[in-house]
Amino acid sequence: MQVIQQKNNLFKKIFRVVQGFEFVAGDIPWVGKIYHHFFYKKLVEKEIKMAGVQPGMGVAQVGCGPFPYSAIMLARQGCKVQAIDNDPRAIAQARKVVSRLGLEDKIELQHQDGTEFDYTGLERVFVSLHVQGRERILDKAVGDMGVEGRIVFRNPRGWLRLFYPSYVSNQLSCQVFCRCREKLGKESLCVSRCKQKSLAEARSGEVLLIKKVPVHPLLPALGFRPGKKVCLQGRQCFNGPLLALVDDRKVALGVELANLIEVQGGE
């Protein structure tokens, strides 16, 4: 109990530092640019790709903070974004940042708690790492959205687990669709209500049925077509490719690509 308390205190302290920094970043444009370029650009780009975000989708960002970077990137992709935060100061600062970038009509900012927000009708939800009570938010969002809806959230992995609470897939009420290793001890998870998952989430030795394959010049010819059975043989070190077997043919597949292949448990 005491350990959890300590962890919570530490978490709050780190959170204040990060938030303070983001306030500064919101005030001074070039600081914001450098900060996000180093810490978030690649990460958010990966998440957007992983979640299969298409222009025109309705998206929410929970815990946008004083500099709503994910929301900005999503808006630039052509999404209609609702960004919420339970801190009124953060929302006020975020308004300034958004209007400076001229994205007011694409990003709707609201002061609200993520556990009470209504996610009905949205297609993707992005939850920040520093949001508290992420479990309840996930449950609510999964319930509100349809089977096609997907939620992306960040988990600590490795050393960052010492400071942040993390969720493992068996604690969640939803299916982990795919995950992606990020820098600085983080990982991004994409979850959904339906039973489908990506090939990258499969266990070694599992035989699965391919449901959907992204447009790619080589994948169909190598046997990755809907309706085919695929067996995951293993994965390489250093976040290397997966080895998959289709029709006795062994293919090495990059993780990011495997994240986009939808599969279903085959019997």
Binding site: H216, P217, L218, L219, P220, A221, L222, G223, R225, Q233, G234, R235, Q236, C237, F238, N239, G240, P241, L243, D247, D248, R249, K250, V251, A252, L253, G254, E256, L257
Partner: protein
């Protein structure tokens, strides 16, 4: 044999991607998915030597040879392998362009192990209304897995001749050759859209591929599991590489020490020296021929007794790795690490080819779709991958001091490549390509094929490596004997003596190194350098000008501008690192 010899003399032309024209109606195309053995067919039919290896994308430029039928000559063209004809990569674009030039016929080679996607390609080819013969290759491997291919069913459904082959054993090849000239264009109507084609290919494969009882896990599959996964694949990779590396050095050194050096020093040089001394009076000309840099002495000893043994042992090692199908597995093991510098695991293959000679390494990048990847690998090869001639020279220079210095030099070069990769990944725009790589079957290399392959590479070395080296040694002896060296030494002394702390004679390797990589090293062998100077000299030579032929290749493949930039970067790195190392190592030794 007579027939073969005649065909051989007809010559062999290779083309680049841009130049694909051939005499209309006289060409027969060899097509099929990558790594099904098209080049083995080509070599058998033409008696030529297109390169063959067990990984995807060996043939990066088409090869053209002659095939004679009824006293008429036909061009046989070995087209780079394509999974489909959708023109999404360089190989597919070449293939499409060739198809549009009215070929006389197509030999479509399919792999019995991946019949389905092969059939899809075949269906795409059939719409071109050209006579086609389909060869189902590697029937033996399918049989080993417990499958029988129903050839009659395929012939009935496709309406074209289908022949079962095992190309490496020459089984069925004569039949393919007979049938291709007697076949009419296809008449059957077959599906025309992508999804219909896949549907047709799937159902036909189900009927034509008959399972003949269960077979247990073969030894091949066991080894495949061991070598491909991270455990025990990674430690095995270390052992395999360590073994190959020591084999190259050990075998090379042994041959040099006990066979070639005694042979030249005791049997060739004494009569040669005596002969020259009899004919030519003492003076400059005699010195040029048999003096310190004697054209006849060093010109024979360096390329033939010093470098040649390593060329032989290196190509033995490389050819075994290539033909066994281990290289793609090694690449996949390293893919995660290569991703850190924006590359893919399969890029390890052109890099390793670069350890033989930079030119095949750079040409080997042609099949890559991304220009960023091509530029990065070519620059890394030009900067820090020593070709085998230079490596041989390093072994001669450093191995006698200590084998650890040799190892240190190679680790240094790998580190430099990694840094270069990191930098280039940042500054060259472009995304990293996702890894999608088919892993070929493991095969036991066949001694006959290995022998031929090594022979071809040795031949290449003699004509493109050893002869220019002899000429360059001639130039060196001229510089040395005409006292040009003294002037050069004085002119370059700030750079050589003060910055690099090497003796003034080191001007010779710096001049010669522009022409060829190993000549930046070899003259150092007999200068009696101390260990620090040896290492500094070796590092400068490693990064120095990547030899004239390589610069020309870079300019042709990319642009003159890039070649100049690479030249500047390599020379700059060489002197910068050399000077720093001379000071840093000087502190310790």
């Amino acid at each position: 044999m007579e027939e073969r010899g005649r065909r051989k003399r007809r010559g062999h032309r290779c083309g680049q991607f841009e130049n694909t024209s051939f005499s209309e109606g006289k060409a027969i195309l060899l097509m099929g998915p990558p790594n099904v053995g098209k080049s083995v067919f080509f070599n058998y039919f033409t008696g030529l030597e297109a390169s063959v290896a067990n990984y995807v994308g060996t043939t990066v430029e088409f090869s053209r040879g002659r095939i004679v039928e009824n006293r008429e000559d036909y061009d046989l063209i070995d087209v780079p392998g394509t999974y489909t004809l959708d023109a999404t990569n360089p190989a597919e674009k070449v293939a499409l362009k060739m198809l549009q030039e009215n070929p006389q016929g197509i030999i479509c080679v399919l792999d019995a192990g991946s019949l389905e996607s092969g059939l899809y390609l075949l269906l795409q080819l059939l719409q071109f209304q050209v006579p086609i013969v389909a060869a189902i290759n590697r029937i033996d491997l399918a049989r080993e897995r417990g499958y029988i291919v129903d050839i009659e069913e395929l012939e009935k459904e496709l309406g074209i001749p289908v022949i079962a082959t095992v190309a490496l054993n020459h089984e069925g090849l004569e039949e393919v050759r007979e049938r291709i000239f007697k076949t009419a264009p296809p008449s059957k109507t077959l599906p025309a859209t992508s999804s219909e084609r896949w549907h047709f290919a799937e159902s036909l494969t189900r009927r034509a591929l008959v399972r003949e009882g269960e077979k247990g896990e073969s030894l091949r599959q066991k080894w495949d599991g061991w070598l491909t996964g991270p455990w025990p694949g990674l430690p095995l990779a270390l052992i395999i590489l360590g073994f190959i590396f020591s084999m190259i050095i050990g075998l090379g050194m042994g041959m040099r020490q006990y066979l070639l050096l005694p042979f030249f020093r005791e049997l060739i040089f004494p009569p040669l020296t005596a002969g020259v001394e009899m004919i030519i009076p003492p003076g400059i000309i005699r010195n040029i021929l048999i003096g310190d840099y004697g054209f006849l002495i060093k010109g024979l000893e360096w390329p033939l007794a010093l470098v040649f043994p390593y060329v032989l042992s290196f190509y033995l090692g490389l050819s075994v790795l290539e033909d066994s199908g281990y290289l793609p597995r090694f690449g996949v093991l390293l893919d995660g690490l290569m991703a850190r510098i924006g590359l893919r695991g399969s890029n390890i293959i052109p890099l390793l080819l670069g350890y033989g000679c930079a030119i095949p390494g750079i040409l080997g990048t042609r099949a890559l779709e991304s220009r960023k990847e091509r530029v990065m690998i070519s620059t890394m090869i030009a900067l820090a991958v020593p070709c085998i001639s230079q490596s041989g020279a390093f072994f001669a220079l450093l191995a006698e001091v200590s084998i650890i210095v040799v190892l240190a030099l190679f680790l240094f070069s790998v580190a430099a490549m990694f840094v270069a990769g990191l930098v280039m990944d940042r500054i060259i725009p472009g995304e990293r390509m996702e890894t999608v790589l088919e892993i070929p079957e493991l095969l036991v290399p066949r001694p006959r094929l290995l022998g031929r392959k090594i022979f071809m590479r040795i031949k290449g070395y003699i004509f493109n490596g050893a002869l220019p080296m002899v000429m360059a040694v001639g130039i060196a002896s001229l510089i040395y004997e005409t006292r040009l060296l003294v002037y050069l030494g004085t002119a370059l002394s700030p750079l050589i003596e003060q910055w690099l702390r090497l003796p003034s004679e080191a001007a010779v390797p710096l001049i010669l190194g522009i022409v060829r990589r190993e000549l930046a090293v070899l003259p150092l062998v007999e200068m009696g350098l101390n260990p620090v100077q040896l290492f500094v000299g070796a590092v400068v030579a490693l990064f120095y000008v990547p030899c004239i032929a390589v610069l020309a290749t870079l300019a042709r493949e990319f642009s003159l501008k890039l070649a100049v930039v690479i030249l500047g970067v390599t020379v700059g790195t060489a002197f910068l690192l050399g000077g720093i190392l001379a000071r840093v190592l000087g502190l310790f030794v």
